[in-house]
Symmetry: C2
Subunit: 383 residues, 2 copies
């Protein structure tokens, strides 16, 4: 198994877009090819992270369409679907292809076009990832979110203000990200007075519906400097599952899949939580960022919320989280999120993040699928 | 990159089934775990080949659902969508995971539930893999098939009887396969008098709509014999694409993706077309088996049809093709086909095919996606 590095990234602007999913992914891919100086190279594989192009736009085989659109044939291409973890899974599989020696150059692209349907229909499509029996009984993703937040706040004494501060912090970051869907700050009062969605969570606790794409170019680490000056090494990457059935979980405030994936990724990288200096976590609702920050070992279980009060996870803190704006402010085009996270950490380690730049040599991404039943964690390092 | 072997397979009966796609895949997976004696082992990854569970059944995240259904957590799981090549792609990615050293045990499962919708709706769903502009102009998969057959027969002087014999041969094989959808022989006259679908192709030239699943267990080759007596080595496996846009192709009677994928797979295995003793090809319509048999190097371009006249590709011939019955008689549950092909060749090399058993030590599978724009070829060997 050989070392693998990232040599280029590309992102579209996130938000409501006119283009279809193939055009969005082509835009991000072409930018990644330019960024990695590989526009004239032969690629071995193209893996496309996407949840539901069939349901959103009546399109299948989008990996074949993309590879043809950007003239990367004869690269092998396939779509990887892992619900909201599709982008992370595409990145993980692209890594496998280079690490195994099967490919010299690999492209991982995540993308989703969600605004092609009504918000009601989009919500239905997203809900198709839940367990049929639970959904059949009326348990939605939003109701699971509310239930988790009740458990967490009551058990650990977390004030609602601390949880709401995730949204405020992530909007502060998104304000400085030209690709973010929401480039505006919000106040704590705005979050705390927004409409209740699933008590105690409110509208501003949740990520929006978004169109967008993000792409990553991977090569064997030993070849990385022949393409670019500042490649980023993939120190560790791993995925894991826990039960799909939410009511079978012992503790709603623990994401076993995140613990398992990060254990493997840390071990592979020879690093631990204390080595991480910047992270992109999967804040599909505010509390999820806090829970993941605990399950990744940054903070003790039940104490992650304190970092929001102390400011430790802001850009000026010791461990900045979601400098991109996170899912909350950058937006969450489902299949794109995993590769967008990798793009943000890559650019942070390369010092290319402009006004939202932080100081870091090692970063982490955590992409979560379903209601936490699947996760891909990667650890990236300057080289 | 380490050697990888297959230690077990599992298949459901193909045809119209009452179960949903997750139940079908669970049935095949549990049989594969039993066959490989790995029911109590920890799996690293589960890759699920499936085209359109969202459109057929309103289900996404089916890889997470499956891994939970068969209690293989914390194995990482994802769905791989590559239209009719989804199963082959899942097998290919599972191979990458073991070859790279990321996983010790990998499960590749293909499955599709198609009879949940009307035949008209199923045809619409399948057509979503075509290029939007071509489909928008009224060019369907069936019309491309007819066009290809016109080109082929006129250019190479192939009689319609030779092409129809693919269906007769594959039904002869399917008759002996307990898992096949159609376990009945058909006559040449039946094929040649069935309704015209896309001149010169008729109803019996095309594969049916099918439900079913097939699963494969992969391990590092050096560990294979600690599980089973007759493991099968994956000598080579590779995928490749050619243009998605059919009218951009120089020659409709050539599948570039098959040529490219097989070149790579032969090279990896250190073998050539002459070494192959049994093969499963992707006969979504009869002529496709012939075209692939040429692009894989078994016969010269324009001469593959002669093997049908001489009987060379029957079970008693020098190179039996589609001993399972092929897509035509075994059925074509889209995402299942690639893994079902691997299961058939594995069982042929293990000598477990009963009445349809042939003599072979090296076999090949060719799984095709879209209208030939993507292909996965694998070469399997006794060890």
């Amino acid at each position: 198994m050989r070392d693998v590095a990232i040599i280029g990234v590309g992102l579209t602007k996130f938000g409501k877009r006119e283009e279809n999913v193939i055009q969005l992914m082509a835009e991000a891919s072409i930018e990644a090819l330019r960024d990695s100086r590989t526009a004239n190279e032969d690629f071995g594989v193209v893996f496309v992270g996407n949840m539901a192009s069939g349901e959103f736009e009546g399109k299948s085989g989008i990996a074949n369409a993309l590879v043809s659109e950007i003239s990367l044939e004869p690269a092998f291409a396939s779509k990887i679907e892992n619900t909201s973890g599709s982008g992370g899974a595409a990145f993980y599989v692209a890594w496998m292809s280079v690490a195994s020696g099967q490919s010299e150059l690999a492209l991982a692209v995540g993308g989703e076009k969600m605004t092609s349907v009504s918000t009601e229909r989009a919500t239905d499509i997203i809900a198709s990832l839940t367990h049929a029996e639970e959904y059949g009984q009326g348990a939605t993703l939003l109701s699971f979110a509310g239930l988790t937040a009740r458990h967490y706040t009551e058990r650990y004494g977390a004030p609602k203000e601390a949880i709401a501060k995730v949204a405020v912090k992530n909007h502060e970051n998104g304000y400085l990200n030209p690709n973010a869907q929401f480039q505006k700050p919000i106040t704590l009062e705005q979050v705390l007075t927004s409409p209740i969605i699933a008590d105690p969570l409110r509208l501003y606790d949740f990520c929006p519906i978004t169109d967008g794409a993000a792409a990553i170019v991977l090569v064997p680490a030993e070849r990385a400097r022949s393409f670019v000056e500042k490649p980023v090494r993939i120190g560790g990457v791993a995925g894991a599952t826990s039960t799909h059935v939410v009511h079978e979980r012992e503790d709603l405030t623990v994401l076993d899949a995140v613990r398992r994936a990060s254990d493997k990724a840390y071990k592979m990288a020879g690093k631990g939580p204390k080595d991480i200096q910047v992270a992109e976590l999967h804040d599909m609702f505010t509390l999820m960022e806090i829970i993941q920050s605990e399950d990744l070992g940054f903070f003790r279980k039940g104490e992650g919320w304190k970092a929001l009060e102390s400011g430790e996870t802001t850009r000026r803190g010791a461990l900045p989280i979601n400098t991109s704006g996170g899912l909350k402010a950058k937006g969450h085009p489902i299949g794109a999120t995993g590769t967008a996270q990798v793009a943000e950490i890559t650019q942070q380690l390369q010092g290319r993040c402009g006004a939202r730049q932080v100081k870091a040599e090692v970063g982490l991404t955590c992409n979560v699928a379903g209601f936490g039943n699947n996760s891909v964690v990667s650890i990236l390092e300057r080289m």
